[in-house]
């Protein structure tokens, strides 16, 4: 799956956003202009918890941000999935705080909400998106219309407006791979806020087209066996696990 993503990303990069195309492409494969020129600027309302974490433990997030950038440069890890075994393990808060640390560094950072059963990213940032990733995948809306740029924060957000009715079909759609290939082309680092792996009765489905994963772990909620199981699930999906992010320590 990673090979397909790489090939798609290279193809889009070669084609370029401004290159005129001969025939009008179908909606899912339309090559838009970079989203920064299309999307209107957005004001992000950061949660108080994120600001408190940044104030008290900002150096830890700075170090992780530097490590992620280093991994991107050395190992081409551009799309990082943040997942957890269960809900309420602090995943979204960690992603938001880390995104602020990355936003202070050069490069274009994108936050993607891929919590298909309970999207929280837009709500956490005080956003009410008109379009989102669900519209891009299901309705063929262009990415540029769905991505929300926050120039003041030096960040971009691709929200998910509502929970997805059929997550498996959503992830297996061709539009998912092509969307992430385009996002990979247009951004320097992508943080994907994925949902919990073991939510509900269905078998876990980690989002495809991601280069590596970080498992957010709250010791009081998740035991060692769940972590091992999560590791197996991710490796089966072809997503190497970089390590743990322990919260509420």
């Amino acid at each position: 799956m990673g090979d397909i993503d790489q090939v798609l990303a290279r193809a889009y990069a070669r084609r370029g956003p401004s290159e005129p195309s001969g025939s009008p492409p179908p909606p899912h494969f339309a090559v838009e202009a970079p989203s920064s020129s299309v999307g209107a600027s957005t004001f992000l309302e950061w949660p108080p918890t994120v600001r408190a974490l940044e104030r008290e433990h900002g150096h830890r997030f700075d170090r992780l941000a530097d490590a992620l950038l280093d991994a991107r440069d050395r190992q081409q890890l551009k799309v990082i999935l943040f997942t957890s075994c269960h809900r309420a393990e602090g995943r979204t808060t960690l992603v938001l705080t880390l995104a602020r640390a990355l936003a202070r560094r050069p490069g274009r950072t994108l936050l993607v909400d891929a919590d298909l059963t309970g999207p929280m990213l837009a709500r956490s940032l005080g956003l009410r998106p008109r379009l989102g990733l669900d519209d891009v995948i299901e309705e063929g809306v262009s990415i540029a219309e769905a991505v929300m740029d926050a120039p003041d924060d030096h960040l971009s957000v691709l929200p998910l407006r509502r929970p997805v009715a059929r997550p498996r079909e959503f992830l297996n759609a061709t539009a998912w791979a092509t969307t992430f290939a385009r996002l990979r082309r247009d951004n320097d680092l992508i943080l994907v806020d994925g949902g919990p792996l073991f939510a509900g009765l269905s078998s876990p489905m980690p989002p495809r087209s991601t280069d590596a994963a970080i498992l957010v772990h709250n010791r009081s909620l998740t035991g060692d066996r769940a972590i091992l199981r999560a590791r197996e699930v991710l490796e089966t999906a072809g997503i190497p696990l970089l390590g743990l992010a322990e919260t509420f320590v």
């Binding site: 008290e56 743990l244 992010a245």
Partner: protein, 144 residues
């Protein structure tokens, strides 16, 4: 924490074995525990004060309400004119201090005549059917 920072400085993409320990990239303390400065204490004090006030209010209201219920219960109870308990021997016992809410009257027992009901019942005779005799229908050996 040293291990955390060292690991976070160099992320290596490898395929670890299943039971190998995973590196901890970042460890974030619980804000509620670490920052026990001003805000959580204030919240707890508020909560305690609210709980205390609610308790005082309950303690003040409960005895008054219980007294009201007791007094009003006496006043509202139905007071029948002939509050007597009749016994079988005709002994009448009246209680003026605590009148009962109901009176019980036991009539003297009389011998019950069972045959009266039997005589009142009309026999049902269906045409064309031969009714068995009132005596025992069959012999002890079943007719053999």
């Amino acid at each position: 924490m040293t291990q955390t920072l060292e690991t976070a400085n160099s992320l290596t993409l490898s395929r670890p074995r299943a039971f190998e320990a995973l590196p901890v990239l970042i460890s974030i303390p619980n804000l509620a525990i670490t920052s026990r400065g001003v805000r959580p204490k204030v919240r707890r004090r508020r909560l305690r004060r609210e709980v205390r006030l609610a308790g005082y209010a309950l303690l003040a209201i409960l005895p008054v309400s219980m007294a009201l219920v007791a007094l009003a219960g006496d006043r509202w109870s139905p007071r029948a004119p002939g509050l007597t308990v009749e016994r079988r021997g005709g002994l009448v016992e009246s209680s003026t201090n605590r009148p009962p809410t109901c009176s019980i009257s036991l009539e003297p027992l009389e011998p019950v005549i069972v045959n009266v009901h039997r005589e009142l019942e009309a026999p049902v005779i269906l045409p064309g059917y031969l009714l068995p005799a009132d005596t025992s229908e069959e012999s002890s050996d079943g007719g053999h």
